[in-house]
Amino acid sequence: MTDVMQAPGRLDYPVSPHARKGGLQAAQRRIGMLMLAPAAIAFSIIILYPFVQALGLSFFEDTLQTIEPTFIGLANFKAILTDPETWQSFGITVVYVGGATIGTVVLGLGWALILNQPFRGRRVIRALTIMPWVVPSTVSAFVWAWIFNSRFGVINGVLLELELIDVPQAWLSTPEGALAAVILTRIWRSIPLFMAFFLAGLQNVDQEQIDAARVDGAGNSAILRDHLLPHLRPVLIVVVVLGVIGGLQDFDTIFALTGGGPVRATSVLSISVYRKAFEQWDIGMASAMGVLWVATLLPPAYFYLRMLVKGR
């Protein structure tokens, strides 16, 4: 730029006293970085540093016996990868996160479609719908545990009353029952959030587009299939991200509802890591498990998110 200003034949004026150094773009860059700084610092201290430390610990034997950790290389990873429990945990996590996410998407979408339709009492229902999301997760675990309770639970009560079973069943004591219960609880808790996102998406639907489809002869199912679902695709992508994050990180409900049992039927990764670390005091192993988890998830997450950010 300077060379241009000195180019021959150009009129020469005095530079305005208000002119600033470095130009506009550099200033903007500085301000942008300044605004990011607080979050970046918090992120580094509270998330990144602990993670890096955990990464380091995963190469150490750090248990109750070894108050000073000793370096053991990849032994922790080897132990984990050869332990069938690890794979079981991964499997359960997949079922749990997958089941809960799919279930919530389906029901949350269904509920959003319903609440997008005008009918009397809609406002009240919309307002009430938020409840399962805002009750503390411990509470939702309580409620569902109570509903599933083998002695006094309402499910048993109803089934007994209907004579579908003759003795009370211990739902939470079977692997399937317990997994179903934690998934149902998770779905119950997340429907409101998903519903809100879908509803927001639906409120952005161009009514003229739907009218056009009606004129073209589309019935309700065609409207849903050909127009609403494609329209909601971006929302769906985001909702799936949030659902997966929420599911993976969910600890509270499962811990309060089944504690990971019976046996290990509901020991998702978050529970397993907790168990390893805080019940068996094997920090090195727990770190290795967490690192493995991140290693599995981070690359796909990064690319998925990049797609999300770019595809907007």
Partner: protein, 401 residues
């Protein structure tokens, strides 16, 4: 404060006032102050452990007897023998209670209160089923259970622990002992794979099949069931009384229904089984080496005082750990406590919880027992799998198999 005391009793609504009394008493006597740090029973081990990692250990900690081995490696743990002298301690504490605090010849803990885990029956439930005599053998026990099942609708005749790993451990161990089996021998060898073990587990599985026990019951659930007379038997510590009073909603009026009894035996004449249970006190040195003058050692000394030992354990429905307190009329005249002591004369060690990898062992045992009870595995499979997994765990913890 001059010292900090972390404990679970302080976190329990019913026990908190008793703890405050101890602290007030200590302060009155020595002029030193105590900072109580409450921690829920289930969280205490974790808290101690995390504090060890961050080097902020409290000076005194109340623990359950079965955690001692896993905490025994913590730095700064005081060997009371070096402070008070072995002989002195032996003079003060009842031998079996003191023994629970010993590891490798060190006295790492002293008892705050002790006792055993034994069986409790509910008189109201027995009456409803028309049972007049408490069962003494396993056979009688089972027959009674059947009677209760049939006569008391929607009952769980024996509220055995079937959820919550540490609860399952205690119940299963009891039956192991009843059937003459062991899980781990004193040298750290896993010996659970035995016919006796299989018999014990098969017996429990059979109870489950017959619906004499129920799934999804932990200690609190059992207490609730018994408190409501919907269960006739369960295993618990002497503290049972305090809980049942509260859960029945009837208070001391419910005492009439609480019957400590001997755990049934395989054949008449066998020694009835019970398991050692205690609340122990460990300390972390305030000075190196620790001396009697340290605030926390003064506190330890105070805990052995009759002022504490005739008050706190009794309020918790448990036996004191000191000889003099046990002899004190307040304790000796408590009918319930003496009945308890009479029924459970030879409490045995918890042979699983005492290892440094006790947490893992408990998990393995409970998982396998649960799997058998819930019909996912046969009793045989469960026992052999338990054996294999425990052996691996013990090997890893440095106990050659």
């Amino acid at each position: 404060a001059d010292l900090s005391w972390m404990g679970y009793s302080y976190a329990e609504e019913s026990a908190k006032p008793s703890v405050e009394k101890i602290i007030a008493g200590f302060t009155a006597k020595t002029g030193k102050t105590v900072e109580p740090i409450p921690s829920a029973f289930g969280d205490l081990q974790k808290n101690v452990f995390l504090r060890a990692r961050s080097k902020t250990l409290p000076s005194v900690v109340q623990i359950s007897e079965r955690w001692l081995p896993s905490l025994s490696k913590l730095p700064g743990l005081v060997d009371y023998n070096t402070v008070f002298g072995k002989e002195n301690l032996e003079k003060i504490y009842a031998p079996e209670a003191l023994a629970m605090g010993q590891i490798d010849g060190k006295q790492l803990a002293v008892p705050l209160m002790s006792g055993s885990i034994g069986m409790v029956a509910n008189q109201a439930a027995l009456t409803k089923a028309g049972i007049t005599d408490l069962p003494t053998t396993v056979e009688e026990f089972k027959a009674d259970l059947v009677a209760i099942r049939d006569k008391v609708p929607n009952s769980v005749p024996y509220a055995m622990a079937t959820k919550n790993n540490s609860d399952i451990l205690v119940d299963f161990l009891t039956w192991e002992y009843v059937f003459g089996a062991h899980v781990i021998d004193p040298e750290g060898k896993v010996v659970v794979d035995s016919d006796a073990s299989r018999k014990a587990l098969a017996f429990l599985v059979d109870l489950m099949k017959e619906r004499l026990v129920a799934p999804e019951i932990g200690r609190p659930d059992a207490r609730r069931l018994v408190g409501q007379s919907a269960a006739a038997f369960y295993l618990d510590a002497p503290q049972s009384r305090t809980f049942l009073r509260s859960f029945s909603g009837q208070g001391p009026a419910f005492d009439a229904n609480i019957k400590p009894m001997q755990v049934p035996v395989v054949k008449a004449g066998d020694t009835p089984v019970s398991i050692q249970w205690a609340h122990l006190i460990i300390s972390f040195a305030q000075n190196s080496p620790p001396t009697k003058e340290d605030a926390n050692m003064q506190f330890i000394a105070y805990l052995g005082d009759d002022a504490v030992e005739t008050q706190f354990p009794v309020e918790q429905s448990a036996l004191p750990g000191t000889k003099s307190a046990r002899a004190n009329p307040v304790v000796a005249s408590d009918a319930y406590l003496s009945a308890w002591a009479k029924n459970n004369t030879h409490p045995r060690r918890n042979e699983v919880g005492i290892w440094s990898n006790g947490g893992e062992l408990t998990d393995i045992l409970a998982q396998e027992v649960q799997a058998a009870l819930l019909g996912q595995k046969s009793a045989d499979e469960a026992i052999s799998s338990m054996s294999t997994r425990m052996k691996a765990s013990m090997t890893k913890a440095g106990h050659a198999q």
